[in-house]
């Protein structure tokens, strides 16, 4: 216990983003809690919010953030709002990933964020950005369109997301609307490496694969798969992007690499903390194995985790069995989302993913 919490944070910052770093940061928080001032506890939690955000642990982001927000409200003169309000953006984009959080609660939180931003004279562009992203995630397409309009119409300031993130959001929306050629065009500065940040182009490279394939631009798709997968393969936060790479590999029928991806990432998906990302991965697993079952139905040797339901001692699995297992898992995960969203957007996306996986035929 001879190290201070700040020294532990310094050590944590030497680590790449991931669970080890989160655990070390939590250790620092605990030290600050048991020996430090409220200021120390606050600062340590700001670090935890960041470490958890980039490690795919949105639940820890929410818990630490709500604590900090409460302390800020209790003594607003003691804390600078800037870092906190910046992290509010991360929180606001993650809320819809939890199906147990009601729509009313999500709206309440966006309203709270808007109120605070206005009070601090920040532009509310990121608030509408968050509303847009969540509406899109919940399949509320009309609402999303309205929010998007307000979002692009609101001026940028120092609290807005960086140019790379905003470009990526625009690209994503175009893809969602089926405007593939336009999306790829819009993505040019990202794809050329002119715009980048902590999450871009990792997200974009994965999102752009399906549009490229649908437009027949196979060489480009291969290029962005190579570059994109390399950047995300060690990163828990990008489980959704990894799922897209899996769909792509299924589509081009590179089964060996797809199986390798499954072996590497299924243990991570099983323990994923982000319910939406976990669903996306399981839906992609179903898509791949269903596709594989039709092309190569025989049992194959695969290194799957021993705590997986359906684990076999002989490590030989029939793709159809895995497809059935993962389909039922994905459906079970989709149900609470559909309940919350009031539509079948999430469960319907299972077959859409399957469609992409089958495209190679």
């Amino acid at each position: 216990m001879s190290e201070t919490w700040r020294e532990i944070i310094d050590q944590a910052n030497e680590l790449p983003a991931g669970l080890e770093r989160v655990a070390l940061t939590e250790h620092a928080v605990r030290l600050a809690d048991t020996g430090g001032s409220e200021r120390d506890q606050y600062d340590a939690r700001l670090e935890l919010i960041e470490a958890a955000n980039y490690a795919g642990c949105p639940e820890r982001v929410l818990v630490a953030f709500s604590w900090c927000l409460a302390k800020y409200d209790a003594s607003p003169n003691d804390y600078s709002p800037y870092k906190l309000m910046w992290r509010y953006k991360w929180v606001s984009e993650k809320l819809a990933c939890f199906p147990q959080v009601a729509r009313a609660k999500i709206e309440e939180m966006h309203d709270d964020m808007e109120q605070r931003y206005r009070k601090l004279s920040y532009s509310v562009r990121p608030v509408f950005g968050g509303r847009f992203i969540n509406a899109l995630r919940m399949g509320l397409i009309d609402e999303a369109a309205k929010y998007f309009e307000t979002y692009v119409g609101t001026k940028r300031d120092w609290m807005s997301d960086c140019a790379a993130c905003e470009c990526d959001v625009a690209v994503d929306y175009l893809i969602e609307k089926g405007q593939y050629a336009q999306a790829i065009d819009e993505a040019t500065p990202i794809l050329k490496g002119k715009l980048y940040c902590a999450e871009v182009p990792q997200l974009t490279h994965a999102n752009i694969l399906r549009p490229l394939v649908l437009l027949g631009r196979m060489e480009q798709a291969a290029e962005y798969h190579e570059k994109g997968y390399r950047k995300v393969s060690r990163d828990r936060e990008f489980l959704g992007s990894i799922a897209r790479h899996l769909q792509y590999l299924s589509c081009i029928q590179n089964d060996a690499k797809a199986i390798r991806l499954v072996e590497q990432h299924l243990p991570i998906a099983m323990r994923a903390n982000d319910p939406l990302r976990r669903f996306q991965f399981y839906a992609s697993l179903y898509g791949f194995f269903a596709s594989l079952a039709e092309r190569k139905p025989r049992a194959k040797k695969m290194m799957l985790p021993c705590d997986m339901p359906g684990f076999r001692e002989d490590h030989r699995y029939r793709p159809i069995d895995l497809a059935d297992q993962f389909l039922s898992d994905a459906k079970a995960m989709a149900e609470p989302f559909d309940d919350r969203n009031g539509n079948d957007y999430v469960s319907a996306s299972i077959e859409r993913r399957r469609g992409f996986c089958d495209l190679g035929k």
């Binding site: 680590l15 669970l19 655990a23 605990r30 818990v63 709500s66 147990q100 939180m109 243990p267």
Partner: protein, 606 residues
């Protein structure tokens, strides 16, 4: 004789372009030296294509005069330019003369802003050039930063080649210092295959030195020795070894130096890259696979593409293939070492276990080769997997820091060896064991592992029965269950264990206590699942003399107090932040004890 003196204008706003270069593209004004050097090199190479016997030499001459700004003159005896060529190429910004004039790979510098960089340090650039073409005249071009230039012929009968004159503009004298020019020229151009001399009033220096890729070695041993010497001079580090690097895809020839100290995945990018013998960057990214962060490289490439700024590598297919090739070189070295000098490999792993683990996690063959030499933290100290396998057989492990912290000292006291899988690659490596090597592993669940502790015998069970029942009732309100075992160290009265969900719920409760209703609702919503699976447990130790007495005590109230105090003590020992109720327990509990003792003493006196 008269000369044509035409005023012409550049076709682009030159000031804007210069600002763009200095603010966004180049890392600093010193880059101008690289650019003018590159032009000189390109000119000589072009001349050699037409006159293969031509050797070529470059001279950077610093001219200083009292009361006047210093001037740097760059001489080369390369291909030179005709009046037409000057007109055409220098005047159109962004067009590289070399690309249009000659084909193929004789030239790099696809981005023809080389000469423009002179305007970052100079208001006026003068170029005197004579082409090797027969009957070519000596031509003088004067370009100004405001976008005007003059072009005319000179009466001189100069040798073919080019001289570029840069006069320091106010504020830029530092970039015209003799030492600065010499060091910068050496930094970028020491490995050029063309002689580069730097002349100043005081001295004349040849800045070249032979790079590893043009050196000749008598044998492998001398290659390694000389390479290490080169590495020491280049980086001021005593490297452990020097590995030759080759890639066909990237036209790469170079050396990977093994660092004598361990490094992290984040500090990867310090590789020195030369493109066609000119330094591109001291910190090029993307050259090696992610796992290879135990080396620092010096390479020369003939085909890798630089970025527009010429200060990094373009991330294209060629780079990707080069990366694979170089990764294979390093991997081959490690495999050979494992076969020919395993002791040496083990010493290397001792320093660089992290990159070895990174590679083993993604490469099954490599995993099989090195797993037994990789070190892991356990409750009985750090040991290699091979040692663990030999001494304990089945690999027992936990996945998180918190679990390890909770149980490692008690496990150790039981002589139980548990591996701490919390480090980045460790769990992945352990979970690979049954697939790749047929060894058994056992994941230790947080609360179940206490089943490994000694059970009570029938008599002891009988005696402790009521106590355990009482403890469960008392602790239920704190979300904790109770059990009793016997374990070392005997001075530990109770061991508190939790699982991930319980730890998470503790932080949720903390946040809820601090926050308002809206957030309380949100936190409840996201923690439902964790709440349901949260388990914490207080395991009492019958080996402890106080516990032995406590289980026999008839006074239920006394037992309750004791249980509550032991509970809070365990939380404190584990550095768990206490919830409000637990804080109260601590406060009221201790006061209660003091009161009890005082009462007893009081009644004793009576």
């Amino acid at each position: 004789m008269s000369h044509e003196s035409n005023e012409h204008h550049f076709q682009v706003d030159l000031r804007g372009v210069i600002d763009l270069l200095s603010d966004h593209l180049y890392s600093g004004p010193q880059v101008y030296i690289r650019e003018v050097l590159q032009n000189a090199v390109d000119a000589i190479v072009a001349r050699r294509q037409l006159q293969p016997d031509h050797v070529g030499s470059i001279r950077l001459e610093l001219v200083t005069a009292e009361g006047a700004p210093p001037t740097l003159v760059i001489h080369d005896d390369g291909i030179g330019l005709t009046s037409d060529e000057v007109h055409q190429f220098l005047a159109t910004i962004g067009q590289s003369s070399k690309r249009d004039q000659l084909t193929g790979d004789d030239f790099i510098g696809q981005f023809g802003v080389g000469l423009l960089s002179g305007f970052v340090v100079s208001e006026e650039i003068v170029v005197i050039t004579r082409s090797i073409q027969p009957d070519a005249a000596t031509v003088q071009w004067k370009g100004r930063a405001d976008g005007t230039y003059t072009l005319g012929q000179l009466e001189l009968d100069a040798e073919p080649g080019t001289q570029v004159y840069l006069r320091a503009k106010p504020g830029c004298q530092d970039f015209f210092d003799a030492d600065f020019i010499r060091e910068t020229a050496r930094h970028f151009g020491s490995h050029l295959p063309i002689d580069v001399q730097v002349w100043s009033k005081q001295d004349r220096t040849l800045i070249n030195s032979v790079p590893p890729w043009r050196s000749h070695y008598a044998n492998e041993a001398s290659r390694t020795e000389l390479s290490l010497e080169y590495g020491k001079n280049a980086f001021d580090i005593d490297f452990l070894d020097a590995i030759p690097l080759r890639s066909n895809a990237g036209g790469v020839d170079g050396i990977a130096f093994i660092l004598p100290f361990s490094s992290t995945m984040k500090t990867q990018n310090k590789h020195r890259v030369y493109i066609k013998d000119m330094l591109l960057s001291d910190s090029a990214e993307g050259l090696l696979p992610d796992w290879a962060f135990f080396v620092r490289c010096v390479i020369n490439s003939t085909t890798l593409r630089p970025l527009a700024s010429r200060e990094g590598l373009y991330d294209d297919q060629t780079l990707a293939e080069t990366r694979d090739d170089l990764g294979a070189c390093l991997r081959r070295y490690l495999v050979e070492l494992s076969q020919q000098d395993p002791n040496r490999l083990q010493r290397l792993i001792h320093v660089h276990y992290l990159p070895m683990k990174a590679l083993a996690a993604e490469d099954d063959e490599f995993f099989k080769m090195v797993i037994d030499w990789l070190p892991f933290e356990t409750s009985l100290g750090t040991m290699t997997m091979g040692e663990y396998n030999e001494r304990f057989g089945t690999v027992r492990y936990v996945r998180t820091r918190d679990r390890f912290r909770q149980m490692s000292s008690v496990a150790a006291a039981q002589k139980m060896c548990v591996v701490n899988g919390c480090y980045t690659f460790d769990t992945a490596l352990i979970e690979k064991l049954p697939h790749v090597t047929n060894r058994d592993i056992e994941f230790l669940d947080a609360n179940e592992w206490t089943e490994n502790l000694d059970e009570l015998d029938l008599q002891e069970r009988e005696t402790a029965f009521e106590f355990v029942r009482t403890a469960n009732v008392v602790l239920q309100t704190y979300g904790c269950s109770a059990e009793i075992k016997k374990f070392q160290p005997h001075n530990l009265p109770a061991l508190y264990t939790t699982n991930e969900s319980a730890d998470f719920m503790r932080s949720v409760d903390q946040a809820k206590e601090a926050g308002d209703e809206m957030w309380g609702g949100i936190l409840d919503a996201i923690s439902g699942q964790a709440g349901a699976s949260a388990q914490s447990q207080l395991c009492f130790n019958l080996e402890n003399p106080v516990i032995k007495k406590l289980v026999q005590v008839e006074d239920r109230d006394l037992q309750r107090r004791s249980i509550e105090t032991l509970y809070v003590q365990s939380l404190l020992l584990g550095h768990y932040p206490l919830k409000d109720r637990e804080m109260n327990l601590l406060g009221d509990g201790l006061l209660g004890w003091i009161e009890l003792c005082l009462n007893q003493r009081g009644s004793a006196r009576e």
